[in-house]
Every structure is written in C-alpha cells, then in structure tokens.
Symmetry: C2
C-alpha cells in the first residue's frame, strides 16, 4: 500500500500491480477489472449497425411467422392477408424512423424513452416508460432465445423435447458472457450480424430470382400441426386482421436501440447514428416484406415444429444442405445477439433508475468485471422463468411482448413532441437548460412536433390494438404489470427520500453529551467466554449488570456460586423464567430499564458470542445471541456488542 | 415482578398469575405451561397395558400380512407356511418376555436399551443401541400410520390415490397433539386400546366359532393384485421362508415399551410392570396366531389394496356392515396410538442422549408446553419424508424396520447377561454402585444370565436373518445408517467435551489488564447515523480511527470534506478499492492492525447499522454491516459493536 497524507486524512492506495485473490468466481467470470479500465471506444456506421441492430433485424425471424399463426385460424385462404399487413408494418417503420431520427439529433447524449419522458413529461410517464422498457428487455431475451432454439429444432427435430432446457442453458450462457463483461469490440458483433444479413439476402434474393424465373417450387411436406388444429375455421374478421397485424408489429421491437447508444458513435455522433438508423430501417423493411411475400408464394405454413425461415430456406435451396444449415445457424446466432443486447440495456437502465433512486441501489454497483452484475443476474433469472413457464413457445410469449415496446415508443415520442412545443414558445436565441439538456428555439419546431406527434399517435393506436386483441392471450399480465412496477418504483423513491431526509445533517446540532453509560452483560453460564466478555464490559463503564435468565433453578444456583468467585464484584440479576423462555424475560427487563432511563443515558448490551470455524458446530449451539441481537436491533438507543470467543 | 435480593444477587420472580403473551402458536399448541406443572401420576396394570402396549399389539395389523406377501412369491400353496412361522414368532415372544421380565426387575427406574447398554457394555454399544432405537421410533411412526391408512383405504377404496397425503396429515396431527403435550391420563389411552382388543377378540372369536361350526366361508372376491404379479413362481426355498419369518417378526416391535416406562406404574412398580408385560405377551401371541390361522382357513390373500384385517372382518361378519367398520376403525386408531407412543419415546431418548452430550443440546430443552418440541418436530419431519418416499407402502417400509428393534433387543439383553455375570462375581452382601444403579450378588445369577444370554442370542440371529434376507430390499440403508449415526453421536460428544475443556475456569488466572483500546469506526457516509456511532465510539476510547472504503473518488472527496466539519477531529483513513470491493480492503486493514498490536490491546469495530421495521426496506440496502460482522466474528480478539440508527 502507498500512503498519502493530505489535510489530516490518510488515503491508502493500492500499488498498480496489486491483484485481488482468485476464486471459483474468477474462473467463471474472469479476474476483477480496475475501475480505471472502463472502456472508452467509439464506432463507425457499419460497426454501429452491427452492434445496435441485432434486436431489430432478428425480429424478422419470428414476426412474419406470428402473423401467419394468427391468420391460420381462418384457414389457408387467409394467409395471403399477411402481404398487405407487412406493407402496413413497413409504413409504421417509416414513421418510427423519421420520428427517432429527430430524437437522435435532439439528444446527442443518448435519448432512451426513460430519459426523454423524464425530461419532458415528468416523473410518472418516465417511470411508466422505465417499467415498459424493463419488461420489454426481459421479453426480448425470452422471445429471442426461444425463437433461436426453434430454428435449431427445425434443423434438428430430435432436439424438440429438450427445447426448454436448451433455451435456459443459452440464457445462462449469454448471462455468463455478460458477467465477464463484453468488450464491445464491434468486430465480435460485426461478424454474426453481417453473416446473418448476407444469409438472409441470399435466401430472399435467390428466392426472388427463382420466383421471377418461375422455378420457385412450393414447400415440400409443410408442417401441418397448426393448420390441423383448427377444425372449425374462424371467419376473417377485422379483429382477426388487427390481431395478426399486432403480432407482425413485433418486427419493430429494437428500433429504438440506436437512439439509446448515440454516445458510442464516432463524431459527428448524431449524424452517424441517424444514418445508421435509416440503413437499419431499410434493411429491416426489405427483409420483413421479402420474407412475408416469398413465404406466401412458396406456400409456407405456420407451425410450432418448423419455423418459417427453415421452410423458406429448404425450399429456396432445394433441401437441407449446407446453405440451409448456414442460413438457420446465422438466424440462431443473430437471435442470441439480440438477447445479448437486452443484457446490455436492462442493467444499464436499471443502474440509471437506481441512481435516480427508483430501484434498489445495488443495481447501480458495478461488479468485479465492471458490469452491473445484479441487473444481469436478475434479467437471466426472470427470462429463464418465463421460458420455463411458457415452454419456450414464441407464440405464447408474443402477447406479452410488444405492449411495452409500443408504450415506450409512445411516451418517448410524446415527450419529443412536447419538447418541440416548448421550443416553439421560446424566443429566438433564448436558451432553457433543464437537467443538463439545453433547449433553444427551433425554426422548424412545428413540423418536428407534427412528425413526433404523429409517431406517438400511431404507436399509441398500435399499442391499444395490441392490448385489446391479445388481452385474453396474456397481454393482461403486462397491462397490470407496468403500472404495478411504476408504483413500486415510486415507493422505493419515497423510501430513499425519507431516509436521506432523516439522515441529513442540516439543522443537526452538536451531538449531546453522554450522561450515564449502563452495560448489561447477558450471562448464559460462567466460563472463559463470559469472563472475556466481562473484561471487555469493564472497559466500557463501571455500571455493569450481569443478567441471567433462569430456566433451571439448579443451574442458576451454580451460576450464582461461580459468579461470586469469578464475577469481580459485578452485580448479578437472575430473571426467573417459569415458561422456559430465554429471550422474552431479557427483553422485558431491558424495556423496564429503558422506561426509567435518564436523558442522555446509553445502554449497551454485551453478548458473549460463541463462534466456531466448523460449520457443523453451529447446529450444536442455541443461537440465543443472534436472536437477542435481531430483536434488540429494532429498539432505539440500545447498542449491541458481541464479544466473540473462539473454540478452535 | 417480585424482587428477591439474596447475597448481592437479585432474583426477579414472576407473580403466579403472570401469563405470557398469546400468539398463533398459542392457538395451535395451547398456552405455555409452567415448569412446575410437569405431571407426576402413576398408573395401574390395566391402564398400563393400554398406555404401553399399543405399539406391540397394533403390529398384528401388518405382521401376518407381510409374511403372506413374501410367501405369495411362491404361489397360493406356500401361504400355509405362515402358520408354523407364526408359532415360531410366538416362541420368540416367550423368550423375549422372560428376558425383559428380568430387565424390569433389575431396572425399576426404567431400563431402555440405551441405558442398559450404557451401564453394562460401554459407550459404543450404548450409542449403537441409541441409533437403533431412534431409527426404530421413526419407522414405527411411518409404518403404523401407513398401515392405519391402509385399513382406511380398505374400507373406502376411493381414498386409495390420496393415501400418501392422508398419512402425512395424520403424522402432522399426531405431532400437533404431542406438541400440545399429552396429559397421559390413561383414560384417553384405555378407550381406544380396549376398543381395539374387544374388536379383535370378537373378530377372531366369532371366526373360530364359525370355523369349528363349519360355517366360516372363504373371502369373497379376494384382491388379486399381488398374486397376479408373480407370473413365474419362485420355489419354496429356505431363504424365502426365513424372509417371511423376518417379516413376521415385526409383530414383536414394541415389546420393550413397558421396560422403558416402569416409573409410570403404581408401586410395587416392577411387579406391576412385569405382570403387565406378561398380559401383553399373551394377548399379542394369541392375536398373532389367531389372525394367521383363521386368515389361512378363509383364504385371505395378501394385497396392496385391501388389508388382511379387512378381508378377515368382512368374511367373519358377512360383508362390510357396521361391525366390519368398527373393527377397521379400531385398527386404524390403535395404529395411530402406536405412532403416538413413538412420539413420546423418541424425544425422551433424544433428550436423554442430548443430556449425555451425544445429540445437540436443543433436544434437551422442553418447549412452552413442557414437551421436547425439537425432538417431536424432527420425528414428524423424518417420518413424513419416509412416507412420501415409500408412498405409504407398509411392504416397502418393512425392510428398514425390524433391524433396529432386534439390534436394540440384542444389546439390551447382552447388557443384562453381562450384568448378571458381574453380579455372580460379587461376594454375598457386597454392593457395587455404578452410574446410580446398584448391583449386588444375586443367588440365581447363572440362571438369569442364561435366560438373558439366550434371549440375546435369539434376537441376534433374527437380526442377522432379517438383515441378510432383506438386504437388497432396503435393509442395507439401516445397516449403513446405524453405525453412521453412532459415529455422528461420538463426533458431537467430542465437540462438546472440547468446548467444555476450552471454557473451563480451572487453571484460569485473573483476566489480564486491558492495555490499549483501539476503536475503528466503519464509515460508509457522513450522516446522522454515523455521527451517532461516532458519539458512541468516543465513550469507548480516545483512540478512534474512522475508516472509509472508497469505490468512487468523487464520493470519497465529499466524505472527506464533510468529515472535516463533523468528524470532531477524529482521524479518517480512506482505503482505495480499485476493484470496487467493500469488505476485503477493510479486512486487510484490520489484519495489518492486528499484526502490529501490543499485548493486551483490544480492537473494537464500531459499525453503524441501519435498521428499519419495514421488511421491504431491507431489500433496498446493502448489508455491508452484516457481512463485515459475519467475517470479523471469526477473528480472534476483535469485538464488534453495532450502533443502530432507526429510520421510522
């Protein structure tokens, strides 16, 4: 250790080569990192696309399929409706992209829904956005991993029975990777993302060429499991179409990711991030429409046993060859990357909200590997539970999914619209600084307000459509959960605020003088341990009382005799306990003392505490000291001192 | 409270009308009883028979059946072997009765196997007997309750699927009754026992009369489940016959009960207890032979769905009428009584062994209702687990059962034989007092030694037969368990002995003078809570150091500034923690202090401890204080003082 002595305060500093001790944890998550090691690295557009868009782009692996699953209830003939629906979703994507483009320029420091809502709409909307986002990150993990495993299972049907446990294992794997801390080297992200993009564009491209050439066949032996389920077909109602549309909108989950991560981009940050957003939207839209359109042409059927991507790939590439396997592998990998994104975002938002005092403080602590370990672990546990409960079925998870996404879209864009409105009311050149973000008059505020406002309106409508059409399929859970979470956040905030006020040193006078100091020595027997405790008690005060709770009169008599020899003249009080209770008589005695105490009187309870290094030994002793401590800690003005005696 | 002051010691005594506060526990197990309320009541022969023989006599409900189940493997023709086997068991019963009669007279204070083995054979045999008995009491509960429920299920087959949970519920019911404390009023025992005896003698009696009159039919529609199972019949080997015999010997479990409970009898105790033992043996033998003989005559078949008693009762009484139901009810009730006996014996033996230091001390504490609550609860939990694991099947539980019983028989009688041998070597009139029991020369020591020795030999042979024939059916568990338990008892004993030696005040000089008293104040922040702790620290010593582990340099800077204002001039040490660990730097600092400490130097760590009455709040705080305390408690010479600050 180096010692620096400044202004009477000693600072002990570690030398640079100091390494903390190794443990099993070190092996699992890697050696601890120093705080100074936190990475500061910026990325360009192409890498940025890879880092931030896996969540959005991987959605095409399940969104078209989920539309088809809903439409299947109305029979084979209804599946074609998926094509206009996918066009509608592309339209929604355009609106969202324009809207978020504006957010990116207005919040170059990162404008997630929680921050935008907090700055522009107030506490309740911010907490609602926070609840929606956290819910959503959890579902991103559950849905993406479940869908990734569904791709695997399509290629290797023998794995079907183990899909739940493969999924859970994957969640834990992604968790471990994140606990080690992902060095966001970009490169590691770029490979799988571009691999996926290449495989998808090859699949869709070859499919289109064969379609135009008239050589595109139909899916051979398509999986009939879901189509057979509907013995009586439903009519094609508006409700059914809206429900299918709602399922399809899950393709848009993850679009907001870039606006959260602007600070990671090279300067000019906003410009680079904005361009990346547009690139991502174009790719996403193309793939969404391409997969839906081609799938319909080749007679893809929705199924729980084989994914749409698998059916399409084996039709385009004429069977389950190498290219087919590469296409499915790339899809599985990109879905794992999407889950990985949530593992970065969830703990970061959790830490942000914890710093603001809305979540337990622990979420803001960075672990030995500089990551928010508590948040990562919490996410993995909840997502795994969801996977187990919903048996890794994407179709059963989907109804819980997009509500949170669209709620956060709506709040974020309403916030932006309100911001433009405020900007319009400022005089030219006037500046308004709130919470670190500076607002000034914007000439085109009206246009921008309309864009964001329209975006908010559209996403609000989609959210309501989603909640209504999927309410009975599970959406009700989220409808209850999000306000519930927001209420919990508020309660936590109030607790911390009250605590801070209580502990505040404002209006705190000098501490009063200590008058009398009474010491109570809890006496279970007279032996070396208690004599050590007595020796200690004598250093505290001259006013010592040894108190023994008597259950067995013969035993008490012995203690009395021994105390006369060894007690050093300290007075002994024996509390008779006819009901053989140990703790209660002691508590009553202390209570009586407290009632008669003088102002500024201190009471210290000295408890001899038996300790042993053998875990086994702890079963062999009554933990009276522990119990006493737990009960007395809640009494004001009582200090508990444990004098340990070891027996090893 | 009354206060008595004698020899400088204050004794606080409760007034007689003091009642402890009520709680949910009061409602379940009744209001606490004073130690002075312990019952002192003696009983006569007829009531004694009822109190002590339910375990033994209830065995006839399963022992004949279990013999038949083994014989069934060799087909219908083999079932008749049960008759000579039951005669052999009656012979064994005679030997055991004579042997225990002698024990009763030699140990008028109660001569259980543990005590007899401890006094006459030494520690290891005593511990083996203790382990055997404890194992056995547990199995008595599991087997008796399972058999009781099997009777119920025979009468109401619809209950068959719920038999495991009905059994567990019954165990918990008997546990609750025992936690309340059974007022052994005798009367409560006499009714069900005599009800059972009357019903059994009526059943067997009527059966015999009808057999002699030639009007006894055969069982109509006997249950074929077990007979059908054996597609290929086994030959009738000696092994099979011995195995069936072993199953039948479970009828003898519980025979030792009276010898444990001699003190409960009216004087002349030994004479009354001995007569009761003989009465019990006669009844047990009669029933055992009667049931086996009659059962065979009427073509009773062993089964997992209908008990032998049920088949017999419905054949004797021509169907499932009222008398049939009464016979089955009385059997269920006596089996529950048998379980209840184990609930009295297990905790009593546990307490005895705990007092001797072979089991955790807690087992010797009597709870609020004057019963050994820990022992009762432990018995209920283990017995319930066994019932669940073995699906309440008597047949699957039996192989674990009688080994312990016969091992304890063997040890107890070997002990007695050794005692007579010692008695024979004493001169006339010479007395030998060991562990409170007095031994003198007995004229007929040789005869008595032969009786007990022969008893020991017979039970040893039975035990070996049992262990060998049922080894692969589960007996191996007990063969491993009993020595394992004995080894654990020894380890516990050694632990307590070492502790007592360490704590002993022999050769303990006056405690040394305290030299320096160093106080370390663990500082997480500067607020009202820590200033309270500082105020307290100042009463302990002038040598105070506040120590802060710094994770965030900005935060530490603030703490340093605040401390300059509020720290009262106490020196502050800041420990930099580049790896964001909180506990480890503090530990290292304290270790360094300890290395340089002077002789007789005391170190006290003052830890400000946040406490809240809201349970929910504890999730919102890091429990650094708790962690620190747990780690430091294991270091010698360090005292931990928690200064609480409440925020309610």
């Amino acid at each position: 250790m180096n010692i620096n002595n400044e202004h009477g305060t000693t600072v002990l500093r570690r030398t640079a080569d100091y390494k903390p001790p190794r443990s099993i944890r070190t092996w699992l998550v890697g050696r601890p990192l120093q705080t100074a090691d936190a990475p500061h690295q910026t990325i360009g557009k192409l890498v940025g696309l890879a880092v931030f868009s896996s969540d959005a782009m991987s959605s095409v692996a399940y969104a078209p399929q989920e539309m088809l699953i809903i439409l299947a209830a109305a029979g084979m003939g209804a599946l074609g409706i998926s094509i206009p629906l996918s066009l509608a979703i592309c339209g929604l994507l355009v609106i969202l992209t324009l809207s978020y483009e504006q957010t990116i320029h207005a919040y170059p420091g990162g404008g997630g829904a929680y921050i935008v809502a907090r700055d522009n709409l107030g506490e309740i909307p911010a907490l609602t956005a926070g609840a929606a986002l956290l819910t959503d990150y959890i579902l991103t993990v559950s849905v993406s991993i479940s869908s990734g495993v569904a791709q695997l299972v399509s290629a290797y049907p023998a794995l079907h029975d183990y899909r739940v446990w493969i999924s859970v294992a994957m969640v834990l794997l992604v968790m471990l990777i994140n606990l080690r801390g992902v060095k966001e080297s970009g490169f590691a992200f770029a490979i799988p993302t571009y691999f996926f993009l290449v495989m998808m564009f090859v699949t869709v491209g070859v499919g289109f060429v064969r379609y135009l050439a008239g050589t595109l066949g139909v899916v051979s032996a398509p999986p009939m499991d879901l189509m057979m389920e509907h013995e009586v077909l439903q009519p094609i109602t508006l409700f059914l179409i809206l429900k299918a549309f709602a399922s399809g909108t899950t393709a848009l989950t993850g679009v907001e990711a870039i606006s959260n991560g602007i600070t990671a981009f090279k300067t000019p940050r906003s410009k680079n991030a904005g361009t990346t957003l547009i690139m991502m939207a174009v790719i996403l839209g193309t793939l969404m429409f391409g997969i839906t359109f081609l799938g319909h042409q080749m007679g893809v059927l929705p199924s729980e046993t084989e994914t749409v991507i698998s059916q399409m790939a084996r039709t385009v590439f004429d069977g389950r060859g190498l290219v087919y396997l590469l296409a499915l592998t790339s899809t599985t990998v990109i879905l794992m990357m999407a889950a990985n994104t949530a593992f970065a975002d969830f703990p970061r938002l959790g830490a942000l909200m914890a710093t603001d005092g809305f979540l337990p403080r622990q979420l803001a602590y960075r672990g030995s590997r500089l990551v928010y370990s508590y948040g990562i672990a919490a996410l993995a546990i909840i997502a795994s539970l969801l996977i187990i409960v919903f048996q890794a079925s994407v179709t059963r998870l989907i109804p819980l999914y997009a509500i949170g996404v669209f709620l956060s879209f709506t709040l974020s864009q309403s916030g932006m619209a309100h911001r433009w409105f405020k900007s319009g009311r400022l005089r030219l050149g006037q500046k308004l600084t709130e919470r670190g973000s500076t607002l000034e008059h914007d000439r085109s505020w009206l246009f921008k307000m309309i864009v964001n406002g329209f975006g908010a309106l559209c996403t609000l409508v989609v959210m309501i459509v989603f909640a209504v059409t999927k309410f009975s399929n599970g959406a009700w859970v989220v409808v209850i959960l999000i306000p519930g979470l927001a209420a919990i956040f508020l309660t936590i905030h109030r607790h911390y605020a009250r605590l801070a006020q209580k502990l505040s040193l404002e209006h705190y006078g000098r501490t009063p003088h200590v008058g009398r100091h009474r010491v109570i020595l809890a006496l279970g027997g007279v032996h070396r341990g208690t004599l050590e405790a007595l020796r200690y008690a004598r250093t505290l005060s001259d006013d010592i009382t040894a108190v023994h709770v008597s259950i067995d009169p013969i035993e008490s008599e012995k203690i009395k005799d021994k105390w006369e020899t060894w007690g050093n003249g300290v007075r002994l009080v024996i509390l008779e306990s006819p009901y053989r209770l140990l703790i209660e008589p002691m508590l009553e005695y202390i209570e009586e003392l407290q009632q008669h105490r003088q102002p500024n009187e201190l009471i210290t309870i000295v408890v001899p505490q038996f300790v042993s290094k053998q875990i086994f030994a702890s079963v062999l002793h009554t933990h009276t000291a522990d119990t006493l401590r737990n009960v007395l800690l809640n009494r004001e003005g009582i200090v508990i001192t444990e004098v340990p005696y070891q027996v090893e």
